[in-house]
Structures are given as structure tokens and as C-alpha cells.
Symmetry: C2
Subunit: 331 residues, 2 copies
Amino acid sequence: MTKIVVDAMGGDYAPLEVVKGAIEAIKEYEVEVILVGLEDKIRAELKKYKFDSSRISVVHASEVVEMKDSPAASIRKKKDSSINAGIDLLKTGKADAFFSAGNTGACVCSATLFLGLLPGIERPGISIITPTLKGFSLVIDVGANIDPKPLHLLQYAIMAEAYLEFIFNIKRPRIGMLSIGTESSKGTDFIKECYQLLEKSGLNFIGNVEGKDIFSGNTDIIVCDGYVGNVALKVSESLAEMLFDFLRRELMSSWWNKLAVLFLKSSLRRFKRNTDYSEYGGAPLLGVNGSVIIGHGRSTAKAVKNGIRVAKAEFERSVNAHIIESIKKII
Amino acid sequence: MTKIVVDAMGGDYAPLEVVKGAIEAIKEYEVEVILVGLEDKIRAELKKYKFDSSRISVVHASEVVEMKDSPAASIRKKKDSSINAGIDLLKTGKADAFFSAGNTGACVCSATLFLGLLPGIERPGISIITPTLKGFSLVIDVGANIDPKPLHLLQYAIMAEAYLEFIFNIKRPRIGMLSIGTESSKGTDFIKECYQLLEKSGLNFIGNVEGKDIFSGNTDIIVCDGYVGNVALKVSESLAEMLFDFLRRELMSSWWNKLAVLFLKSSLRRFKRNTDYSEYGGAPLLGVNGSVIIGHGRSTAKAVKNGIRVAKAEFERSVNAHIIESIKKII
């Protein structure tokens, strides 16, 4: 059975929601979960549930990386953090995949440093799956590498293609380069160089795309540098929150409205679910030599459960082996 | 009375919606409007309305810049375009401000080339006003200058400060630099250099902000390079559209829902209005020697009307004179 090591201390609602999500995951999926972190706290949470104890184990790690900690410093100073300990279990083969909703930068640093990168990959990239009008799309990179070289973006495209092909069965996914217009002549020198590389790569490169294409569904993969990707991701999250907030205020502004909303409950719930990041379950950190999934800082139990599902799939479908093959073929 | 020259051929719904918006504007505001473009087409539209003909005039321009035209080429090849002709009216003092919902790049090129830049400004920047949870914020630049130098961003900050102060009466607006984290150590070398410049500028610089802060309302001005600003803008627009679309589909999915929605009509309409770009009326192109407002390509009559209001205010409150003063003081 696939073994997922989960950073029990990672995320704003850790360990409470993380432990709850792990319990839900073993009920729903064929996985074993290793919870890593402050043992006392984890056991105190575990006591709340009935579960098959042969499928959840606890590994103690004495330190916790806070969300505000500097990634590089936290790796060095907090040597026995739950992140480092979890990555170590992966490295030594005691687990098959790693999930953390903790400090993203620290996860990227720890995974890169201790697992190393796949042959042919120079930088890891964080990829996220976003809903679109026609299904979903994958954006890479959303913040692992804020000052990449064009070659890194080609590597991202190759990794993302393998991911979509072997996780979602999408053959030859369409790949777009994030720019400010669709013409190849538009964009910074960096974008133009990326365009050249992608065009002659043999990948299904459809050219430059714009910010709006992240949600249009006209492309399957969008590659970009980690700075613009990170901004796009955070802009999207906060806009969605603002719109939900406006909507809630309006819909709750009178008893009349509240009554009407009762009739719409299931529809509004479905609407929220369609656009809820926690359904998508975490962002694969592609390029490192291991299956590493990074969850949202505000991961709820559901998000953790889905993150474990994503980690399981990435390991079981041997995404990394396919990436290595593609890289050999193309670069 | 302030004279606004309006590019009657600019935008996806030109000249129909542009002419309609101009008519609405002269009814609502103390302005005269000069419609510039293909005279026959403009007059055919004008015939549909009753209005005070002393306050709307038409100036013929024989060419039209299409949305897909290359900005630089269109300036040279279509010399008598409505954009060039409108900018010329501004330059020769026959109009006080210019509004166009046409090709953004062509407007930026034409204005920069023919009007020139304000003393001390090296690049123009497009600024947009976005709604936030607590009011609104201004983002500059969203696409005029995709490869800026740090000094350009300092100039943007100064211009945006003058704009908010003299248009919205916000004294010492808070200025944030768009990065991927709030620490001064985070971000690309470019961001770090901008940080240094802004920190010692004497402006009310609150440090680095993240993508989510565009909608949080915790900062009044966000400065960024035109590439990331453009992506953020287009991501926001398309996400909002997608969410509205999801919501509409859900709410219209049964007769039961449709009935409940009837009771919510005014609330849903208010929700839409709060988040509707056309209420904000266009993006000031700051830094050029003249008042130039760029509208959304899909501007409706309402957006055109509001764009004319924004143009009128920028001219009447002498924003450019204040910018020149600030630049002298700070740089």
C-alpha cells in the first residue's frame, strides 16, 4: 500500500485539520499515512477518532517551521523540523510521497536540497491545477523559482506535460507561454526566448497566451516565471474571496433575501465547490527526485485528504520516471 | 467647459456604444465632446438621439486602428487614424483630454510620441482603479512598459500619489511594491532595487505586498512592472467572468432556482455593479503630457460615459501639474 508522509505541523490549522484529513484519507483511499511532527500533539488529536491504527503511524520531529520563517534559514536552523524529517523519510525510502501545507519555501528548499533534482532538471517548479470554464488547466511555476532562465520554463513544460498525461490522461496537452499578448513579437526578451525554445521543442506549444487564458480553458498548461505565476495565483484567490464576500453581504442583506437563499442553498454550495481550491488538493512540486505535494496554508481536512490523494497518484503513476524519459527525448 | 475628445472608432462596440456614451455624458456632466473618426458612421449614430448639438462635434479621421494592429506600426502606417487625430487635437489645444477604448498599445505609442512625456518622467504607466474589500486601490503599471527600470517604478509611485491625492482626496496614500512576499529580502533583484528606491523616497511606502493585496484594501497604490500588472489585470477579469458564469449556470439550473432568483434580482444587480469595471470608467495613462484615459476594449456606453468623467476630472484637477511638482521635489 502506498505510504504517504504528511507534515502534521504544516498549515494554519495544524495539527487539528491535518490529522482529521489523514483519518479521512485512510478511510477513502488505499494509503498508509505517516504523520510527522510533535508526537504529543499528534497523538492528542488522533485520540479523537476511531480508525485502523495499522494504517496511521507517527514519527516524532522536535521542531516546527513557522509560516513566517525564512525558508533557507529554517532548513539550517530547524534541522529536526517536521518538513526536514518528512523529506528524510521519503529520501530513505520509508515513504513514497510527501504532503505538507506548511511553509512553501521551506518545502521547496528542503526537497531540493535533500532529495535532489531529477536528471536534466535544473530547477523545481510548483504547479497548480485551476478550474476553468471548460475543465481545468495547470499553471507552472507559481513561486518556486522567481528568476528563472528560459531553459527552466522548457523543463517546466516537459514536466507538466508528463503530469497531465499520466495523471489526467490528456495526450499532448496544449502548452501556452504567459505573455501580455498572443503575438510572438510581444513580451519581454525573456518571454521571447522562452517562445523560441518551446516552439522548436516538439511539444504541443500553442504560442503565447494572456492572463485571461488561465481561466478560459483554451490551453491545458501555462508556463511562466514564479514571480508572475505567484502573483496570478494570489490575485485569483483574493479576488474570489472578495467576490464571495460581496455576494454573501448582498444575499444576507434582508430577511427576504435570506428566505430566497434557502431555496438556492444546494446551488450556491455547488457553485462554491466548483471554485474551491481545497477540491484540487495541493500543488505538485515537480522536478525534485520524489513525489512532493504542497498544500495551501489554509488547508482544511478536506484539502489535506485531497492532497494525500494527489500525492498517491503522483507516486503510483510514476510521473517522475515519465518526466526523466521526456527530458531525455527533448533536451 | 472642458472639452473631451473621444475616439469614436475605439473598442469592440464602436462607434455605436461610444456615441451613445458621449450623448449620456453631455447630459450628465458639464463637458463638450468631440467625436473623432469616420464622420459618416458617427453622424449615422448621432441621428438616433436628441441632444444639445452645440456640445457635440465631429472631427473626421479616415483610418481606424484595429484591436489586432501592431501598436508601433499602426502609428506609422495609419497616420490619419482616430487615435492619432484625437491625440493631435489634444496636442494643439483644441481639446483638454482624450478618451479611447481602442487599441491600448496604439494609444500609448501615439500619446508618448506626439504629446511627449512630463518633465522628469521616463516612461508612461497605465493605472487602473480596482474595487477592494475596503474601497478601492490603484495599480500601476498594467501594460504600458513591460521591461521597466526601478526608477520608472519610483516615477509611477509619485504619479499615482498625485493622482489619488488630487482626484480622490487621499492624503499620503499607502504605496506597496508588488512582490511574492512582504519581506524586503524577497523578490527578484529588480524588486529589491525598487524597494530601496521607494524606501528612501519620502513617499508613504509600506513595503512589499503580495498579489492578494490588490483586493485586500490594505494599500492604496500598488506599483509593479507592466508585465506582471497586465497579467494580474487579465487574470482578475477572466476569473470574475468565470465565477459569474458558474453562478449564473447554477442559479438558472431549475425553475425553482429561477423563481428564488427573482426575489434576489436587485441584490444580484448590486453585486454585479460593485464589481463592474465599467463603473470605474477607464485607466489614466499617467506620465504623458496631456490627460489621456484608456477604456476597456469592451466598453459599453456606460463605460464610455464614465471614462469621459474620469478624463474631465484629470484635466480639471491639474493632475499633471501636481505630478511635475512632486517629481521635482522627490527626484
